[in-house]
């Protein structure tokens, strides 16, 4: 793609002064041609990093790490028949973290020269010395081998940044048209594209160069009945992915049909945006006349595109060790799964619940080779046969739970933010016995099948939660009978996972994901995926959310 073509196509952007207030959007908007320019050569990056590491050590740091980061984003927004906004952003700079006499210091700069990095390293040392006055316990950093000069890249087939903007715009407008033709009155669609170019170096002897890509096509279609004043929406059933533009090439082998009688389709590693938008337009219109649910206890059959959010909130967050220890107490909260709670070997769920953490799953948005403190990523068990067996940790937390190694869970949303503990992919292992969704539905006497993520809320220690969804279908005596609305289920994390009766097999396994998971003060966002197969939970409390105003 030539620069001129890019520039021409960005002329579709209107109103880019009013950038969407998305978390992590604080990057500088740029000419999109910049998104194709190569970043600095690794030889240059190594020289810059060494300048910082040497300055930090000379100033008194016992440990230092340097992150030279270049974040490239492009966001395309459309509504109905027009493009609303195309925003290309770039952010380039360096974050330096140092350990001085057991106390952390951090500083960052957008001036990427050897002199500036050395000065920034010294500034980080000074901050560490100042913070030392308020330190309670010195930092204990788990040992970490140096990997030398290594690299990692998201396994993608086609970078989204190399695709002409016109093609992306045409796709969104075609999806909008499909939804409008099928019954929607309004539709907002968007395509989020992220490239993180990260170079990490530390006094441990690692020089890690990574090229990370993420993509998320999404929309929200709304149908209105002006006569009754009622309106209903259906969101996209796509997932944010760690893939290239190939995700948007439909492939029937990557589609999973919902149970008979539901007219739902789930997607694995290829997404058919046009088909999903057409279905969304039809389903949004159909939602205007659906039957309101009768509250009570139901067996829930949860599609992976829905269950992923429940896993995220009720397992992903409570097993973050920094939250368990109290670092998030003022904002995101603490956790019921304290060290004392775990020591008692209390059940987290039924024996069907096996939950794994990793940053390795191909196609997931959490997929990287190394974390932001130079730890090679791996897979480990969080819950095994219903028992909590481990947390998610970074290097300065491992000793607290008697471990010698980090889990590789450090992440910073950009070079200018300090890295801290963030969630890896947290996924429910599928069932071992062969079982289709239809087989699962056959065994349910009174239940509800739920597809797609809706409203979500959980308390600050992750006990009590309430989840909605996109589509709900009544199950009676082993069959889907009719669509429902006004459905939300409430439960307690342990009760809910204790009611887990099993999952479909690997053939039904799919990823849910989020691009903007927030945590920390100042708040940072991160991306994470959650895999599962369709799973059954018995006897869950369902409420009716309809109100009259």
């Amino acid at each position: 793609m030539k620069r001129r073509d890019f520039v021409g196509l960005t002329g579709l952007a209107t109103g880019a002064l009013f950038l969407p207030s998305l978390p992590g959007f604080g990057h500088t908007a740029v000419d999109p041609a910049r998104l194709l320019e190569p970043g600095a050569d690794v030889i240059v990056k190594k020289r810059l990093a060494d300048a910082a590491l040497n300055a930090a050590k000379t100033a008194g740091a016992s440990y230092a790490d340097v992150r030279i980061g270049r974040s490239l984003n492009q966001y395309v927004f459309a509504r109905e028949k027009q493009v609303q906004n195309i925003v290309s952003t770039e952010s380039y700079g360096v974050g330096i973290r140092v350990l001085v006499a057991g106390c952390w210091g951090f500083a960052s700069t957008s001036v990427v020269t050897e002199a500036s990095l050395a000065a920034t390293a010294r500034a980080a040392v000074e901050i560490a010395k100042a913070n030392r006055l308020l330190m309670k316990e010195p930092v204990q950093l788990a040992a970490q081998q140096g990997y030398g000069e290594v690299s990692w890249k998201t396994p993608l087939q086609q970078s989204a940044f190399e695709v002409p903007i016109k093609q992306k715009v045409d796709l969104l407008l075609a999806a909008n048209a499909a939804a409008l033709d099928a019954g929607a009155n309004y539709i907002n669609s968007a395509l989020f594209q992220v490239n993180e170019q990260k170079y990490f170096a530390s006094t441990d002897g690692s020089y890690i160069d990574q090229d990370i890509h993420r993509l998320w096509p999404t929309f929200n279609a709304t149908a209105v009945d002006t006569k009754s004043g009622k309106f209903r929406s259906r969101e996209a059933l796509s997932a944010p992915v760690g893939l290239g533009f190939e995700y948007l090439t439909p492939n029937a082998a990557e589609q999973v049909r919902g149970p008979q009688g539901t007219d739902t389709v789930g997607y694995k590693l290829r997404y058919d945006m046009l088909a999903d938008a057409a279905l969304a337009g039809k389903q949004a219109r159909a939602k205007l006349t659906m039957k309101s649910v009768t509250p009570g206890k139901y067996d829930l059959v949860l599609d992976p595109g829905h269950l992923g959010l429940t896993i995220h909130e009720s397992v992903g967050h409570p097993t973050e060790l920094d939250r368990v220890l109290g670092y998030e107490a003022n904002y995101a909260g603490t956790s019921f799964a304290t060290l004392e709670w775990k020591a008692k070997n209390l059940p987290y769920g039924s024996k069907e619940v096996n939950i794994v953490a990793d940053k390795l799953q191909p196609g997931s948005v959490g997929n990287v080779g190394y974390d932001d403190e130079g730890v090679k990523t791996r897979e480990w068990d969080i819950i095994k046969e219903g028992k909590l067996v481990n947390y998610q940790k970074i290097r300065d937390q491992a000793h607290i739970v008697g471990q010698k190694e980090s889990d590789g869970c450090a992440y910073a949303q950009s070079w200018e933010d300090v890295q801290f503990q963030r969630m890896p992919n947290i996924s429910l292992r599928p069932g071992k016995a062969k079982m289709s969704v239809d087989d699962m539905v056959k065994g349910v006497d009174k239940g509800i099948y739920i597809a797609g993520a809706g409203s979500f809320s959980i308390d600050q220690q992750r006990f009590n939660f309430q989840f909605g969804g996109q589509l709900f279908f009544a199950i009676e005596k082993g069959k889907i009978t009719e669509p429902l609305e006004d459905v939300a289920y409430q439960s307690n994390t342990q009760e809910f996972w204790g009611a887990c009766a099993g999952s479909c097999d690997q053939s039904d396994y799919r990823l849910f994901g989020t691009f903007f998971d927030g945590k920390g003060q100042p708040a940072q966002v991160s991306s994470v995926s959650h895999g599962s197969a369709t799973t059954r939970f018995n006897g869950v409390n369902v409420i009716n959310t309809a109100r009259k105003v």
Binding site: T10, G11, A16, L17, L134, T222, F231
Partner: protein
């Protein structure tokens, strides 16, 4: 460099506009200098600062528009930025929602803000003061202090010229008992950091933490509640009042997809939707919550009433939607004021036979945009009131409630307090719907 004076900013913008050949051109300069400190487990976990300035240029040829930005300010970079914006504009399709830039405007002068700001040392001292309160009582604090100065300057080829500088400091702290059986929260934000006392705020949170130990379970259901301002408006999460006032867009209402859409078409402006004691307005000249003098378009803000005596008085009209409907456009305010009375939260408690005091709400999410139904939970200090007194702490509860219903069930309105840049009174509300219990502390 981060904070430019009015003259320096306009001189720079004039230079930028002198480089354009476009039919219309607008330039916006924004800068910020700020710092923060975060602590937990009685130790500092994060301390940092930011300084940044950026320029955005929008060039237009007819109804075609292009935008480019930069954050370097030498002549060559500025010229290149303008050229890029023009290059994009020439190749752009016409915007169906084009409205021309506005010309010179007259702006109010909101009350001046602080000139003395927090430094890294004073931020650390505030954190130390907060931690000391808790250490003395064997409590654990987790807090965050963040503040600084911002400026924005606008100029366009139609003669518009605008500049404003603002300061703000936010502090919040959660205090927990050593055994994890009690938790309390307090928050404050000010334009003048000299008015912020971390020790006093932390003591408030500490007292809540100590008195929340031993919480009892009560049955979910409909209760009279006293919602403190932090439970109504939040700076770091969705909030019940914030969701209501920020959802008052005219376009969404006219399109039939808002709680303000009218059956049969149109919007509900002029209808009485709330208790007649409810009045919500914005006023950039308010001394306690001084506002922005202009919005992103350069439209001047003014005192504007959104809800008056329960009646929806106005909706937000973007310039495009205003032109389409032949009404004035709405400059978007950055703060809201809910009119109140003179009673303190303590006074409201005294007048309550049976009810629940709520310190803070958490994880509020919209369940149904049609009815504006929200769900969420109480947090960090929930107490049962009987015969005008707090009788005992209670376990946290999940609510499912719409602010539309809530503002029709008003029992009493207290004295407004500043929170998240807004003035919000504590409210006493009957029949507030709790749907389940939470074991979270």
């Amino acid at each position: 460099m981060a904070i430019l004076s009015k003259d320096d900013a306009q001189t720079l913008l004039k230079k930028v506009l002198s480089y354009t050949t476009a039919d219309e051109c607008a330039a916006t300069l924004r800068g910020r200098t700020a710092g923060n400190i975060r602590y937990a487990r009685n130790s500092v976990s994060t301390a940092g600062s930011q300084d940044s300035v950026s320029l955005a240029v929008e060039a237009r040829f007819g109804k075609r528009s292009g935008i480019a930005t930069c954050n370097e300010f030498d002549d060559a970079t500025l010229r290149r930025c303008v050229q890029r914006a023009e290059e994009i504009a020439r190749l752009a399709p016409e915007s169906p929602e084009y409205v021309p830039f506005i010309g010179p405007q007259t702006y109010l002068s909101p009350p001046s803000t602080a000139t003395t700001l927090l430094t890294a040392a004073t931020r650390a001292q505030a954190a130390a003061d907060s931690m000391a309160v808790c250490a003395a009582k064997n409590l654990t604090s987790a807090g965050f202090l963040d503040g600084g100065t911002r400026f924005v300057a606008l100029r366009n080829s139609k003669g518009l010229e605008a500049y404003q500088q603002t300061t703000n400091t936010d502090f919040s702290v959660t205090v927990r008992t050593a055994d994890g059986k009690g938790s309390g929260y307090a928050i404050a934000d000010v334009t003048d950091p000299a008015k912020l006392n971390a020790k006093v705020i932390t003591e408030r949170a500490a007292n809540k933490a100590l008195s929340s130990v031993g919480a009892k379970a009560i049955e979910p259901g409909k209760y009279t509640v006293i919602l403190e301002p932090a439970a109504l408006m939040a700076g770091d999460d969705l909030s019940l009042l914030g969701g209501l006032v920020f959802g008052m867009g005219a376009r969404e209402a006219d399109e039939g997809r808002s709680f303000l859409s009218k059956k049969g078409g149109g919007n509900r402006k002029g209808e009485k939707l709330f208790d007649e004691r409810i009045t919500i307005y914005s006023d950039p000249m308010n001394a306690e919550v001084p506002g922005n003098a202009f919005d992103n378009d350069g439209l001047p803000t003014k005192r504007q009433t959104w809800v008056e005596k329960g009646v929806v008085k106005d909706l937000f009209y973007t310039r495009f939607w205003a032109q389409k409907n032949n009404v004035p456009a709405t400059a978007f305010p950055n703060g809201f004021i809910m009119a109140g009375g003179t009673q303190s939260t303590a006074d409201l408690i005294k007048g309550t036979a049976k009810g629940i005091l709520v310190t803070r709400l958490w994880y509020i999410r919209e369940v149904d945009p049609q009815t504006l139904l929200y769900t969420g939970l109480t947090r960090d200090g929930t107490f049962y009131i009987e015969n005008g007194k707090i009788k005992f702490p209670i376990k946290n509860l999940r609510f499912n409630e719409s602010p539309i219903i809530m503002l029709n069930n008003i029992e009493a309105i207290g004295k407004p307090q500043r929170l998240a840049g807004c003035l919000v009174p504590p409210l006493k509300i009957r029949d507030f719907t709790f749907t389940s219990l939470s074991d979270a502390i």
